[in-house]
Amino acid sequence: MTVKRASPALALYALCAYLFLHLPLLILAVFSFNQSRFTVWQGFSFNWYAAALKDSQLLESTANSLIIAVVATLISTVFGTLCAYGLWKRNSRPLATSLYLNLVTPEIVTGISLLAFYQWIFRFLRVQLGMHTVILAHVAFSIAYVVIVVMARLRTVDARLEEAALDLGANEWQAFRFVTLPAILPGVIAAALLAFTVSFDDYVITSLVAGVNSETLPMVIYAIARRGVNPVVNAISALIFVGFGCLILISQRLQST
């Protein structure tokens, strides 16, 4: 049974489509090396990268983004993996529906609802918006992604394996720890990488629930972009593109093992 080959016309179209997808980012990256800040090429230079790496606001916000992403990823990966396992054993319609709803709810709505929620809570606790509110918000929207990725992996696991473990004397927790968890570990790591990128990149929700002292990198980029084009953003973009790209490639590799 041979698969039909793509015709030359189709291949040409695909080439154009790929150019459409990748050129804007490549151009952005190329111009990050541009000497001048205008869109006329005036020589190769690293000065925008240097400027980016020296900007204290950028550095501080990147640090914030990293801390938030790491903590939120850790929590959401653990919670999400356990949840996916529980749902795999036996589905819970209410929980599955909530997670699904969470995924399809527009970010702006989750953002403002969290803001309203926090403000309401702050009437009772003497707390303010800050890193912790952002982290909690990120956990809230990352869990669903983790559940999806881990669930996909769990579907490839033979349900009889846990039965075999129980049959051989392991209790339920041991069966999970020694049989199922090792089998899904690549999926769990892939989910963690996904959660990390989703958290690091978030602007909409973060901008609403971050306090004054917990600016994240996307917030800074947004502010700069709003004021107009700045090659420093090009430089940051290139760095992020490379960084995220690596993470996603690793995640893809893991999901196919």
Partner: protein
Amino acid sequence: MERVLELRGVSKHYPSHHAVNGVSLNLARGEFFSLLGPSGCGKTTTLRMIAGFEQPTAGQILLNGADITYRKPYERNVSTVFQNYALFPHLSVQQNVEFGLRRRPGNHYAQRAMEALDLVQLAGKQTRRPSEISGGERQRVALARSLVLAPDVLLLDEPLSALDPNLRKQVRAELKAIQRRVGITFLFVTHDQEEALSLSDRLGVMSAGELQQVGTPEEIYLRPRTRFVAGFLGGVNWIDGVGVRPEATRIAKEPPGERPARPATVVQSTFLGNCIHVEARLPNEQPVLAEVSRLGEGFRAGDPVYVWWEPADELVFQ
């Protein structure tokens, strides 16, 4: 004979149907017992209830006299060889075999695992992963993994069905030899009557959730208690309310003389290699199948023949 496993009126009733209905049986220590039946007859469900993966809706299961009906799988000293072997893919062969051992206090895990692998003749492959060995070898690992725990009963769920047909006979013989050597009680579930007959000390035939008959292979084959059992274990010619097996049905061009014989006409003669199947038709249109040696006379369509049998070969039902 010591009863190692006892089922008393075990049932599994679902709202829509009865998967298992009032099954009672006893297994003697060291015996090779088969549960035989078509798919959907409830034999696998019965096995799973003994293993602890399903709970009976009625009845009791006793192991060495103790009631294990509601105990968890890991609290029962029975072990299962699954149909698709269920080997842990992320562990090596040796680690698979050691798995159950490690859940118990003790030591010398590696040594005991290697002894089990020796028993199933897989000594050189203990570091391989399940994906790196053949189907037959995987089955042996599954066997070793369960045997190493010295269970009171070893449950086998159609373990030969996933193997190549030409491999099955050989593995069958090995399985029987191993069982004789270790002396552990085997409960073997299958839909293949040849397997059940050749392997078992005793077997039970199930249909639609009920146990129709329990006995030795000879008893079940030669003295089936119901029409279903008769038909499932082999072919049957039904002539005037009496059942006769094809291999016991005599056919010849001349009447035998000392026996009353029925006239018939040959419809077709099929050469099967080691024997010949002659299909004939009685005057009342009833079909008869006789299995004859290829060394005897040949038959052609249209030949007039005579059909008879020995009274001792008649199948009588209660």
